[in-house]
């Protein structure tokens, strides 16, 4: 059965070694012309005769088995073990802007813990009028908001500073997801505890920490805390997944993912930044001269072409080709995306699937007629503050090679006449 083949997906290795050659791929992927009637049409198929599953077969559905290759993956050599590690969203295989929870990247510092709603407590203490403790049920009684934001790990694309390294958009850009969150604004909770005791709020902070063994504490300026930070308990309409902080996580729009504390257990109003391990020894960006930037919270504007890309090669032969990708900015909304087919010599405007939303992913498309020409594909994002995504050379000029975090450079995919693609760097 033809469909059986699809289930296995195309292994990158077999593709690159030529086992799945252009010709063979093209036959299965395109309706053959002039070769007689298509048996899928001319012959009766089993699924058109027998019955399928009943409504009681799948109380909670997972993707059909043919999509089993669309999963999170990790890079084993990156970290000492998988408990304090990261995996990557399969962005090369997704479209639209909302990331399904089940394949949205995970980053844990002491593993994903199981915390029941009944066992959940959230404390607000420090410079507040009345230190408070909330249960999960309490949180559901505050006025609620629903908003969509991207969450990007500061280390996304971090392995690419010194050169093109990982061969796939999932691995170079997959430390990102975009979900519709429902919860309570942090402002609402802080006001419930009362901020009179904090005095002048302009130089105050909130320190947030999780209930897991790492606690992953971070300091957030009061200005941001009162602006758009959410205490969220639903994502994409349903409860947060365990790996994303069930039952409650912090959402810090536009700012690095490490601050989006999962299993949120405490919010402390402080007179100073705590300078925890996650905001000193990590998540600080060392420049070429050895001086390090700290408090680099905002995620700069960035984009990547998700298809074609190394894990999503062109398999349909010449003719119409959809180039698509994602763009985002932690400073505001995406206002435009440019695409180059020739490594940045010439650019054209991509079509945005919808107007850019504040601090959320934007999908873009460029429809071209590909005749097998060699392409050096790039995308370049513009945001509502006038910021334009820089080239790798421009970034290195300011920051050197040792920053680890905040690599928002323009990505290049080399698309070969065979339709295969490779992560490359260009002059």
């Amino acid at each position: 059965m033809t469909t059986e083949n699809k289930g296995k997906g195309t292994s990158r290795r077999s593709f690159l070694t030529g086992a799945a050659a252009m010709g063979a791929g093209a036959v299965t992927a395109t309706v053959a012309k002039g070769a007689g009637p298509d048996p899928l049409i001319a012959e009766k198929q089993a699924w058109a005769m027998a019955t399928g599953d009943g409504v009681d077969a799948t109380p909670y559905g997972l993707p059909i088995r043919f999509e089993s290759d669309v999963v999170r993956r990790n890079v084993e050599w990156l970290t000492a073990d998988t408990i304090s590690s990261i995996n990557f969203t399969p962005i090369h295989a997704l479209d639209g802007t909302i990331t399904p929870q089940g394949c949205a990247f995970e980053r844990h510092h002491s593993g994903a813990i199981e915390l029941a709603k009944e066992d959940y407590r959230l404390m607000i203490n420090g410079l507040v009028d009345t230190p408070l403790v909330f249960s999960y049920a309490d949180l559901e009684r505050f006025p609620r908001v629903t908003r969509t934001y991207f969450c990007e790990c500061a280390a996304n694309t971090g392995m690419e500073w010194a050169g093109a390294q990982l061969n796939g958009a999932q691995f170079t850009h997959g430390m990102i997801h975009n979900m519709e969150y429902t919860g309570v604004t942090l402002r609402t909770l802080l006001e419930e505890a009362g901020l009179g005791a904090a005095g002048d709020l302009a130089d105050k902070w909130v320190y947030v920490e999780g209930a897991d063994a790492s606690s992953n504490g971070r300091s957030i300026p009061m200005e941001k805390a009162l602006d758009d930070v959410l205490v969220a308990f639903k994502a994409n309409g349903e409860a947060l997944r365990k790996e994303h902080g069930y039952p409650v996580r912090l959402v810090v729009p536009g700012w690095e993912g490490n601050m989006w504390v999962k299993w949120l257990r405490r919010i402390e109003v402080t007179a100073q930044a705590i300078e925890s391990r996650e905001e000193t020894s990590k998540y600080t960006d060392t420049l070429a001269n050895g001086v390090s930037r700290k408090w680099t919270w905002v995620m700069d504007a960035k984009s990547v072409i998700t298809s074609p890309s190394p894990q999503a090669p062109i398999t349909h032969g010449h003719g119409p080709l959809v180039i698509t990708g994602l763009a985002w900015s932690g400073r505001g909304a995406i206002t435009g995306v440019d695409i180059s087919l020739d490594g940045g010599k010439n650019w054209q405007k991509a079509r945005l699937a919808a107007d850019g939303q504040d601090k959320a992913l934007t999908r873009f498309y460029l429809d071209i007629n590909w005749q097998g020409e060699d392409m050096l594909l790039q995308s370049r994002a513009h945001d509502s503050t006038g910021y334009v995504q820089p080239s790798k050379a421009q970034l290195r000029e300011v920051r050197g090679l040792n920053s680890i975090y905040h690599n928002n450079c323009i990505q290049t995919w080399h698309v070969y006449p065979t339709g295969e693609a490779e992560n490359v760097e260009v002059s």
Partner: protein
Amino acid sequence: MSKYRNLALTTAMATLMAATPAFADKMGLGRPALPEEIAAWNLDVSPNGDGLPVGSGDVMTGEEVFAEHCAVCHGDFAEGVDNWPKLAGGMDTLDHDDPLKTVGSYWPYLSTAWDYVHRSMPFGNAQTMSVDDTYAIVAYILFSNDLVDDDFVLSNENFLDVEMPNAGGFIIDDRETAEKHFWNPEPCMSNCKDSVEITMRATVLDVTPEEEGADAAAAQAEPVQVAAAEPAPAALAPAAATAAPAAPAIDMALAADGENVFKKCKACHQVGDDAKNKTGPVLNGVVGAKFGHIEDFKYSKPLQEMAEAGAVWDEASLTAFLTKPRDYIKGTKMSFAGLKKEDDIKAVIEYLKTFQ
């Protein structure tokens, strides 16, 4: 003043100020936090020493505590094992390629080290270090970095006197000035370069993981062929009862539960065909094996001594060890606190039996 720059700073501050005095009506939800509750959770320590409890610890004590609880990952001299963080060394490397960032070479505040050790370490057994032991460990880390002498005693009294070498090595996010030229809404659109050359290719490195998810799943689904474990020879270990005459068939359902429990062990131990020694030895064949059965793994002295005396890992000794590792083998390098539930121990042993 604001702690960070923002293009929309004036607007944001205006909103903030306008909203500050007129707080909304309270909802009356939640309840006041009790002082004991705040004390239990409010553990963070600030650079100025706020939150630091009274106590002290010296370098020599720190060396012992470190060897027992930290060295398994961070090395006896804080030099780091495998990919685990190095805590010492790296002085003057921050402006080199691949700088070595340690507590000594990079961390700007000592409070961060104290806070992190006290609240989040040891990995897999967090929040178990006493206040004095934490002072001792931090003193030892300072010593490992040649920042204090071996007779140094760290306490809440002298904590702020310790000078961290890289304290002045940080600047606040300056992207909006240093990278002002990235705000350029009208970038070049055509003929922007004379030529474009490929300067680097990812496939040359070949470090990208294979995509064999489907194949791996298929392999796992195959029935596991398990040979009955050899009857263990009589063991000397006190908890080792008479060895079972013939190992019964493996309870695969229980082993499946054990696979879940084994997640707690995975940070340090591997099993299966490609298993390698990590911070702990490979556990293939451990059930029924003599103590110290992995030849190229460096076991703790006490474990080696028990091995020489002929001790064997049977269900009784494994159960005793997994219940309280440090009680069963005094001086074991395994920093794991132990499994609390008897069912978990049974399950994980059953799981280990499937790797012979």
